[in-house]
């Protein structure tokens, strides 16, 4: 493979007898921002979990740069270069901000991003480095989650609902960071229920409806009504 890509082919995800994702395929290139939109329960989060190996049961092929990563455990997938900023942030609530950031496997190793880089991006985290993560505001917690994922030095960054529950100005600040991350050659997948903002930030999008891809392509290629129809079903 000449061009680095994250490829998902014919993936289905199950919870017990329930099929949350149905035969979904998508690709993300390096330095590209791709949105996955869809209503609550459309299977977006399940898809991201499956990519990083946290689905209960999943079928299909998931590959990075041509190499199959579908059968590796989550830590190995993360080390291979796919990082997830999970829904609900999943910080360690009783650990300090600095502990949360500095625990990643790559932190402190040569070549990768350093703690100081994260503090440069989010100066407020440096001020609060000794506070337990649970006392932070929602926006600050999301910064820790994003910083923690970046410290894993990923090639591909998956963001699950990073704007959920945050004030509009905070969301705008977070989204303003994305182009900078992209320009470092990192492929980004944004999963959002909020269509407008994520579509504006991305070059391509996939819309999910009841576990399947109902529409995909460039946001400019479709009118608002077409996207809305594939979002809600008709």
């Amino acid at each position: 493979m000449s061009e680095p890509r994250l490829t998902v082919e014919g993936v289905s995800v199950y919870y017990g007898p329930f099929r949350a994702v149905h035969d979904v395929s998508l690709t993300v290139g390096a330095g590209e921002i791709v949105s996955v939109i869809g209503a609550n329960g459309a299977g977006k989060s399940s898809l991201l979990k499956a990519i990083v190996g946290q689905a209960d049961r999943c079928e299909g092929r998931i590959a990075m740069n041509g190499a199959d990563i579908g059968r590796m455990g989550t830590p190995a997938i993360v080390r291979a270069g796919v990082a997830l900023v999970p829904e609900g942030r999943r910080l360690f609530p009783n650990l300090t901000v600095e502990e949360n950031l500095s625990l990643g496997w790559r932190v402190g190793r040569r070549g990768g991003p350093r703690l100081a880089d994260v503090y440069d991006i989010f100066p407020v985290l440096k001020e609060r480095r000794s506070s337990p993560a649970r006392v932070l505001s929602g926006g600050q917690q999301q910064m820790v989650a994003l910083g923690r994922a970046l410290l894993a030095d990923p090639r591909f960054l998956l963001c699950d609902e990073i704007s959920l529950g945050l004030a509009p100005t905070v969301i705008a600040d977070l989204y303003a960071l994305l182009p900078g991350i992209r320009d470092r050659g990192i492929g980004i997948v944004l999963v959002e229920q909020d269509i407008g903002r994520s579509l504006r930030a991305s070059t391509r999008f996939y819309c999910m409806l009841e576990g399947r891809i109902s529409l995909s392509g460039s946001p400019d290629a479709f009118d608002r009504e077409t996207i809305t129809r594939s979002y809600f079903g008709s």
Binding site: Q54, G73, P75, A83, L84, F92, E99, L103, G104, R148
Partner: protein, 287 residues
């Protein structure tokens, strides 16, 4: 009269130090296993026999024997977690509980087969009989050293867990293993290290148990119950709380023993159940 009461209390506090040693490893292992290690007491006993064999076999000082056993205990805990407990750990309590239950029975009967049922005691040398006088009370040096060991071990574990990178790893993984693997950590590796540390606390507990009291192949369950009660009494997850829990138990047993020797153990259980009834979160819950 006052002197007798003070003496009972002091003895209770001193024995509480030993109980805290039993409880530390159990408290830590619950966070790893998500189940109580039913064989915890038996692990302590089996290491006591190991220390006995090394100390008497090679004529070594008991603390030198302990120094030799500590790395073995770390590897033992690590291997137990990685090659046995990890395979049955999951969301259900049942499997890890029953596996450690099976281990407990195997250890008890294996020791019975290997060493016989006679009570043993570890050779403490000069330390055994030394008495020091504090505020006019004659206190055995060994109980004082045991309490000191408990305090030092709690201090060290507290530093390790809350001030070191390894400790942060252990806390992170036991908080949320899924989130830990999302930042590239291997929860199983961390669990193995944590159980290795548990193994080392077991070795220290084994040494002082054998120095302070008789032990036989059937001593394990008694140790487990003491450790369990200390952990719950102290408040789950609180290291200094386990010392408080151990002391409460020790004092309760001491007071019970004053009424009638046979009341000693029962008094401990009754105080435990009474505290559970009025304060289920324990005396010093961490969170």
């Amino acid at each position: 009269m006052v002197a007798a009461i003070v003496n009972t209390l002091v003895q209770g506090v001193l024995i509480g130090g030993l109980y805290a040693l039993f409880a530390l490893g159990l408290s830590l292992s619950v966070g790893v296993m998500r189940a109580v290690n039913v064989a915890h007491g038996d692990f302590i006993v089996v290491v006591s026999y190991l220390l006995l064999s090394i100390a008497t076999g090679f004529g070594l000082n008991i603390f030198l024997a302990l120094a030799l056993v500590l790395p073995v205990a770390f590897l033992g805990g690590f291997a137990l977690q990685r090659y046995l407990l990890q395979r049955v750990s999951g969301k259900a309590v049942l499997a890890p509980l029953l596996v450690t239950f099976g281990l407990a029975i195997i250890i008890q009967n294996g020791l019975l087969e290997g060493y016989g049922a006679d009570p043993r005691v570890l050779p403490g040398g000069a330390l055994e009989t030394k008495v020091v006088s504090i505020f006019g009370m004659q206190l055995g040096l060994m109980p004082l050293v045991t309490l000191a060991a408990a305090i030092v071990l709690i201090f060290a574990l507290d530093r390790l867990l809350y001030k070191s990178q390894v400790g942060a790893l252990i806390r992170a993984v036991s908080d949320d293993p899924g989130a830990a693997s999302l930042i590239g950590l291997s929860p199983n590796q961390v669990y193995g290290i944590a159980m290795g540390i548990v193994g080392m606390t077991v070795a220290v507990a084994a040494c002082f148990m054998g120095l302070r009291s008789n032990f036989d192949p059937a001593s394990g369950p008694g140790n487990l119950l003491i450790a369990f009660e200390s952990v719950v009494l102290g408040g789950l997850g609180s290291l200094w709380g386990t010392l408080a829990g151990g002391v409460v138990l020790g004092v309760a047993q001491g007071v019970g023993g004053q009424i009638d020797f046979a009341w000693q153990t029962l008094a401990g259980h009754i105080v435990f159940l009474a505290v559970l009834a009025v304060r289920p979160q324990g005396l010093f819950p961490r969170y």
